[in-house]
């Protein structure tokens, strides 16, 4: 998910203040927690001056108050908790016309409580009415929400992840699948670690084995979705159905959120796809009508905010989903089909792996540090075909000598690493570096982490790393893998369409 929520406080006992902000796919642990009015004060977020005023007037947040400002203005409204930013001594008042305004507590001449409001979340989601005989899809929440409800009294947004709430937000699902939902954990996607990947993989395997759904949908913050998707691809094989990761680039509390359509496309994929791989389903473009299903090991978030941020790199998408027709069209010539032989779970990731980007002037001590700190593997995002500055070559050599696997990927993102073309590449090869082929640096990182959890023998590591386990390495670089540059010309010179 977008990174705009980072200014919020870490989860604490009372998060009313936090809840004033629209939460999204990467929201914190506020899920389904009831409003705790009696403890509202401690989480009000106000500064010392304002707090003192509130205390002396015996006023708490969510009280309906009347106050007089030093210019004689009388204001009436509901006192809200203080957002994290801005002046903590400015009171936030919600007026009866719906507007919030700030009133400087230093200007308050008189202040009294006139009532107390109760949160009003609207009616709970109506019970779903899915058609019988539909395939089943299981939803796993890992952070944030697909559906949320807004309390228009306080402006608080409450994420929801029950099947009822998902149906309520996306009624179309009722004719696509019978869904079940659970929340595994609720964290920002940037707080994911290899341990979380393992937890998800384990849960997915169990769900497939015990419940036999047509597919599993994993709701995930978008920032690191590509990493998790790759991790699941390595950990889970011979699946009976796809694992579809899905997220939203616009938070689910807004009517324009891409959450609902993405989830719908993900559910359609879970039900209809002939492939049983770890994939990402997200918007294909600016329209709410087309969605691409990307292979988890080949997908990268390429834009900070657009709905179509995800792109297949060194590959084309596996499939597309069209809405509202719900048609799924497969592009892939090769894929892992749905299997009936039982899931293979090869779980576990080595956490002592680093992903380091080379940059001009990079100090080799950065690599030395990782080796000294006992890292087992390093992926270096080199330049071009896979190069680093000459000063780094001895450090690479030393790392390999100490048993640390060094993989070289490219910061070009598109294209294949080749260490045979230039002298520096040859030096790196000689030093023991492993070329990542056409793997994304992120995929190379996840794979190295997965490989090192299986073996630490560098010869074995090299062999495994260069063997395509889940279509992560493609020996052929096809022309259409790289999107053409000239698309902008249609806009240039005032051209239309």
């Amino acid at each position: 998910m977008s990174t705009r929520r980072r200014n919020q406080p870490p989860s604490s006992s009372v998060l009313l203040a936090t809840r004033l902000f629209a939460l999204n796919f990467s929201s914190r642990k506020t899920r389904n927690r009831p409003l705790q009015f009696s403890r509202a004060m401690s989480g009000s977020g106000y500064g010392e001056l304002a707090s003192r005023l509130l205390e002396s007037s015996e006023i708490q947040v969510f009280d309906e108050v009347e106050l007089e400002r030093d210019d004689g203005v009388t204001l009436r409204g509901v006192l809200l908790p203080r957002p994290q930013y801005g002046d903590p001594n400015v009171l936030v008042l919600k007026l009866s016309n719906g507007y919030n305004i700030g009133v400087d507590s230093r200007r308050v001449r008189s202040f009294r409580k006139v009532g107390r409001v109760l949160p009003h979340l609207g009616s709970p989601a109506p019970p779903p009415a899915p058609q019988t005989g539909l395939p089943r899809v299981h939803f796993i929440g890992t952070g944030g929400t697909i559906a949320s409800r807004i309390d228009y009294v306080s402006g608080a947004v409450y994420p929801h992840f029950t099947a009822e709430d998902i149906y309520s937000m996306i009624p179309e699902l009722e004719s696509v699948a019978i869904i079940t939902a659970e929340t595994l954990f609720s964290i920002f996607s940037e707080d994911m670690t290899p341990r979380h990947w393992a937890l998800i993989a384990e849960r997915v395997a169990k769900v497939f084995e015990s419940d036999g759904p047509a597919g599993v949908v994993v709701a995930h913050g978008t920032d690191t979705m590509g990493y998790t998707a790759a991790a699941l691809a390595f950990a889970l094989r011979r699946l009976p159905g796809p694992v579809v990761l899905v997220g939203a680039q616009r938070s689910s509390d807004r009517p324009s959120s891409d959450s609902a359509t993405n989830v719908l496309a993900a559910a359609v994929t879970a039900v209809k796809a002939p492939f049983a791989e770890s994939v990402v389903a997200m918007h294909a473009g600016l329209d709410d009508t087309k969605f691409y299903v990307h292979r988890g090991v080949k997908v990268r978030k390429m834009h900070t905010s657009r709905r179509d941020a995800f792109r297949s790199v060194n590959a084309v998408p596996l499939a597309k989903v069209e809405l509202p027709s719900r048609e799924l069209v497969v592009f892939a010539r090769e894929y892992a089909p749905r299997s009936k032989e039982g899931v293979v779970l090869e779980n576990g990731f080595d956490e002592k792996v680093a992903l380091v980007k080379f940059y001009p002037g990079m100090d080799p001590e950065i690599l030395d540090f990782l080796v000294d700190r006992g890292y087992h593997g390093i992926v270096v995002e080199g330049t071009g075909l896979g190069h680093v500055g000459e000063k780094l070559v001895p450090s690479v050599r030393r790392a390999v000598e100490e048993g640390v696997a060094v993989v070289v990927a490219s910061q070009c993102i598109w294209g294949r690493v080749n260490l045979n073309v230039y002298r520096r590449g040859v030096e790196l090869l000689k030093a023991g570096a492993i070329p990542a082929e056409d793997m994304l640096p992120e995929t190379a990182y996840v794979k190295l982490s997965w490989v090192l959890a299986r073996t630490r023998d560098l010869r074995e590591v090299t062999k495994l790393l260069l063997t395509s386990v889940a279509f992560e390495i493609d020996k052929r670089s096809e022309e259409w893998y790289y999107p053409p540059l000239s698309y902008f010309e249609k806009f240039a010179a005032g051209g239309s369409q």
Partner: protein, 628 residues
Amino acid sequence: MSVKVGLEIHQMLDTREKLFCSCPTSLRRDDPHSRFRRWLRLARSELGELDPAALFEYMKGKSYLYESYVDGTCLVEMDEEPPHQLNQEALEIALIVSLMLNCKVVDEVHVMRKIVIDGSNTTGFQRTALIGFDGYVEIEGGKVPIATVCLEEDAARKIEERESEVVYRLDRLGIPLVEIATGPTISSPEQAGAVALRIGQLLRATGRVKRGLGTIRQDLNISVEGGARVEVKGVQELELIPKVVEMEVQRQRTLLEIRDELRRRGVSREQLEVKPVDVTDVFKGTSSRIAKKALASGGVALAVKLSGFARLLGRELQPGRRLGTEMADRARYWADVGGIFHSDELPGYGISEGEVNEVRRLLNCGEHDAFVLVFEERRKAERAVEAVVERAREALEGVPPETRAANPDGTTRFMRPMPGKARMYPETDIRPIVVGEELLARIRELLPEPPEAKYERFVKVYGLSPELARKLLRSYRLDLFERVVSTVGAPPSLVASTLEDTLVDLRREGVPVQNITDEHLMGLFELFAKGGLVKEAIPLVLKRLAENPELEPEEAVKQLGLTPLSPEEAREAVRRILNRMERMIRERGEAAFGPAMGAVMRELRGRVDGALISRIVKEELAKIVGGS
């Protein structure tokens, strides 16, 4: 019967950038560069909370097609990038407007999201912030309270509405607006006009608002005693406001009379049943073109009885608009039908007396009963009947609260049900902005001159007559006057009398002066200052411009043959004319001045300054007389 009116004025600000991004704030005429399609949605659990209008729009399941320009709109308008921080220039103008309207200002600005799901905002909400409140505006006859001044983003422009989609253009989305809401205390059509004029004037006095058609929109809340609040949207012409109020009052009063009549007749809600009767067979051989066409394409004829409504459907509420018209409006809105027929207008439109009588018989209509007929595909026709009966039931209550749209003639038509209470929640992508004393002090220095000081200056510095100065202060063209005087350097009294007297005189003569733009006037005075025309030519040129607005002032002057003569040319012309009159002049001597001047003016009017010509005539006359 007392009347209560509240005004809501939306004025586009003339900022360099949009409210939440750095795109230009101009509208486009060229073809858009690209299009994309979206849906908006709310959780089903929230639909119950929606106001009926929004719900209805939402239930139609329309998709929205947005048109964008690579060089005019960016990812922010497309809802593909979070909003940037609030435009400081816009905030400054909103603060200026707040202070000019004697408002109190918030200590910290919080941007809100107001849910709007008709697609006019790509986000599904409009961003808006309360800046000022609790102010007043002074007009002749007292103060009118200003409830709020808000800073908000304009919506996308609706280009087209089709069966399953609405097309919007993103150029307008995000242009800053101030929304000024008065208290509901305006008590007459004239006062409503005066308040709107005054606020418009203050807005223009800032010099930082957009001008021209569509840059200011007025909404009116009107209710008569015993009636209900009716919102009239989109009054674009200031001059129309008193008329709209007047006509709306008339409508509401007539609706109350109809209500009273229905009560006298003892009509009850229960009698008004949604019981359409299929009368398709009656119209098998009809000569009504509309009926024939609808039936031929598989439609049906549905009729519904409206007990006790005889002669009331045809009752005029506003010129050309009857209770039957209101029912037709509703049927169009809720059922998307072309129209309806009601018994007060039948026989007519090709529907025969025999057919009417047959329908009456089938419906069991008594003498006091009316009926409504719909020719449409069955499902639509049924929905239309429902909408008609609902409107009939509302007639028992008097005035239905609703949102209406203003027609160009000042009448109004049904637009949609009254929106529910605005649902707002904080825009968390934008940080609250503290409005400190420092900023306010700076804003106070930017405030335009108050009207009293202006009056003083006009009289003392510009030498205007007190009457003209007062006229100007009330005028719509006040800021144009200031602009002309300060930039062109034309004499203030001439500019003032042209704007306030000449234009009024021309209008009285029936000249379409509304066609004369500020640019015309600016150009005209520039021309005058350069010596490109003389004072006396101004009314003639204005008339020509009003009749041919595509002309530039200079061309108009040329077409009229009013290019000024130099003093030498003038003298030459005078000599020529006087030579023709030489005998008469010699006979009458000095007394020949009158006729001589008359003859000269007939030929040279509008081409030479009057004072100059009179001097030349005198001199030339003296030469002839003296030389004799």
